[in-house]
Amino acid sequence: MSEAFISVRNLSKGFTTSKGVVQAVRDVSFDIPRGSITGLVGESGSGKTTLGRAMLRLIEPSAGSISFDGIDLLSLDERQMRKMRKRMQIIFQDPYSSLNPRMRVLEILSEALIAHDIGANSTERKSICISLLQEVGLSAEHINRYPHEFSGGQRQRIGIARALAVEPDFLVADESVSALDVSVQAQILNLLRDLCTKRNLTMLFIAHDLSVVEYLCDQIIVLYLGRPVEIGSAEQVYQRSAHPYTQALLSAAPIPDPSKRRARVVLKGDIPSPYNPPSGCAFRNRCQHAIADCSIELPTAVEIANQHFSFCKRTESII
């Protein structure tokens, strides 16, 4: 693994609500090497969106540290952080609600340029916008249209163009293809992959769809109730998954091949309430391998192979 471009250490985020404190993200540590794509996978309530946003300080982490290209992000004040945001951008899930319906494409894209003082005047900005549109597979004639004149896939392309406008180094894509039909989803996945290669972008790709993550990502982090349960390369996590939760998740995903209908590990019950998570390993009460020990203390990372970690006490007896 090459040098870490982003290092997250012991990052936590709690939300105070009327029912008490919800620890959405607990003590998460990982590195993202420069120019690579890291996938963050988990079910609803696993904390993946919170983690993604906390890394950009769109929500303020409660504890931990984030080093971004050697800079300690959490030590920056608001003005310094605003400048840093030029280097880190986000693409949202819903291409319908993330574009202002009253702005034309030109205004949507120029807004980002103006905010970061890119382009000397409006003519120059317009030509930047046109080349951005072309880069994401749209054309110059689209520049004066409103969001409602585009299909979902095209809107997502506009969202990507907006994120790229300020030439970031790091991109967080939060469920950016899950609202799209599969034939269009494939177009956008191809586009994201091309852009990352061409611009040497580092990306955090958040998704609940395992097959999408496998296709796109170099490294994969599986989250459960705010904590990572397994970290490894796409191949390690998919071909040699070690954590019982990852195994159940992979086994639950339907395979588009009727000759492979199979007996699978169907998990019982739901993800526990984050207000009152189980002691020790959070997965233990849905886990078929759980033993009494699992409730006592938190599982620590066990390195199974080079850079492949499973957070499970029973790793040795499972794999």
């Binding site: 269009v184 191809n190 998990l267 739901d270």
Partner: protein, 336 residues
């Protein structure tokens, strides 16, 4: 379909919506049958007309929508054949719930937040049976147990917001199944759920289907779910069925360019073919607008095998006794 008795036969179904610029056809000339105890999956992307089809069958089209032709013949419990498109509102009310039930994608918006789940499931019994309050409650609890809701009796008075997404979908299923309908229409029942919960719900639906010998019209966009659930598959594109076949046959030998493209677009599908640079083989463009349908084959503008002949309309052709394809060039495009 030969091995089981047909309980729903749709022929030539057309459904349209009135709009300011005239009427638009959302569903065109639809034909399919469902056998008792069998699952037909209706697959398609947004805008393909699959949900409109289900609403047309149930007589639940929104106000601007209407059935513009064709018939939906349903064989009821007493063996009579009735055309659902010809029933009045009161007759349809008797059929819905008792004969044909439906579950929707989003359990939160289809449950009433102001009533307990016990009341909402029990309402079916109140409307369709003569059972008294105690008998209704007992039956509802029995049903909650059947759909594997833990501590069913204590959940009777819970409100929808107190349940998780998976539990709510179980409540929807309990409500749909309580009168033991012969046909269940499930419109994207697991799309809003996480994969581990989806697996639970699909298992549950399969088990209940077997126990009740119920037919299912399963509407989905997910080819993985199709592969797991369906006996027979109909692929819809822009309001028409473009390919129909038994599930094994469809996945082994997809013959319409759209079906082929759909399967190749799925990342991580087993045996998928990526182009040499490792990219997914996406289908270019997007589904046409209903008021701007292309001439002839509606998939033409996105199709790699398009020729000038494709500009005139094309009928379904059988490539095999049970395998139907709507493509002029069928047989020329082997799936590789």
């Amino acid at each position: 379909m030969s091995d089981s008795e047909v309980i729903l036969a749709i022929s030539g179904l057309q459904s349209a919506f009135k709009s300011r610029s005239g009427s638009v056809r959302a569903v065109r000339n639809l034909n399919f049958n469902i056998g008792a105890g069998k699952t037909l999956a209706l697959v398609g992307e947004s805008g393909s007309g699959k949900s409109v089809t289900s609403l047309a069958i149930m007589g639940l089209l929104p106000q601007a929508g209407y059935i513009a032709g064709g018939s939906v013949i349903y064989k009821n419990r007493s063996g009579e054949l009735i055309d659902l498109t010809q029933q009045n509102a009161a007759q349809m009310r008797k059929i819905r719930g008792r004969e044909i039930a439906m579950i929707f994608q989003e359990p939160m918006t289809s449950l009433n937040p102001l009533f307990s789940i016990g009341d909402q499931i029990g309402e079916m019994l109140l409307l369709h049976t003569d059972l008294n309050t105690a008998a209704r409650q007992a039956k509802v609890i029995e049903m909650l147990e059947l759909v594997e809701i833990p501590a069913a009796a204590s959940r009777f008075h819970d409100y929808p917001h107190e349940l998780s997404g998976g539990m709510r979908q179980r409540v929807m299923i309990a409500m749909a199944m309580i009168l033991k309908p012969a046909l269940l229409i499930a419109d994207e029942p697991t799309t809003a759920l996480d994969v581990t919960i989806q697996a639970q719900i699909l298992d549950l639906m399969r088990r209940l289907q077997k126990e009740l010998n119920m037919a299912i019209l399963f509407i989905t966009h997910d080819m993985g779910v199709v592969a797991e659930m369906a006996d027979e598959v109909a692929v819809m594109y822009a309001g028409e069925i473009v390919e129909q076949a038994p599930v094994q046959q469809l996945f082994k030998n997809p013959s319409h360019p759209y079906t082929q493209g759909l399967l190749k677009s799925i990342p991580g599908a087993s045996g998928i073919i990526r182009s040499e640079d490792g990219k997914l083989q996406a289908i270019p463009g997007s589904i046409p607008m209903l008021n701007a349908m292309p001439e002839g084959c509606s998939f033409g503008p996105r199709c790699a095998s398009f020729t000038s002949g494709c500009e005139s309309s094309v009928e379904m052709k059988a490539t095999d006794p049970l395998h139907w394809v709507r493509c002029r060039r069928t047989g020329e495009n082997a799936y590789v």
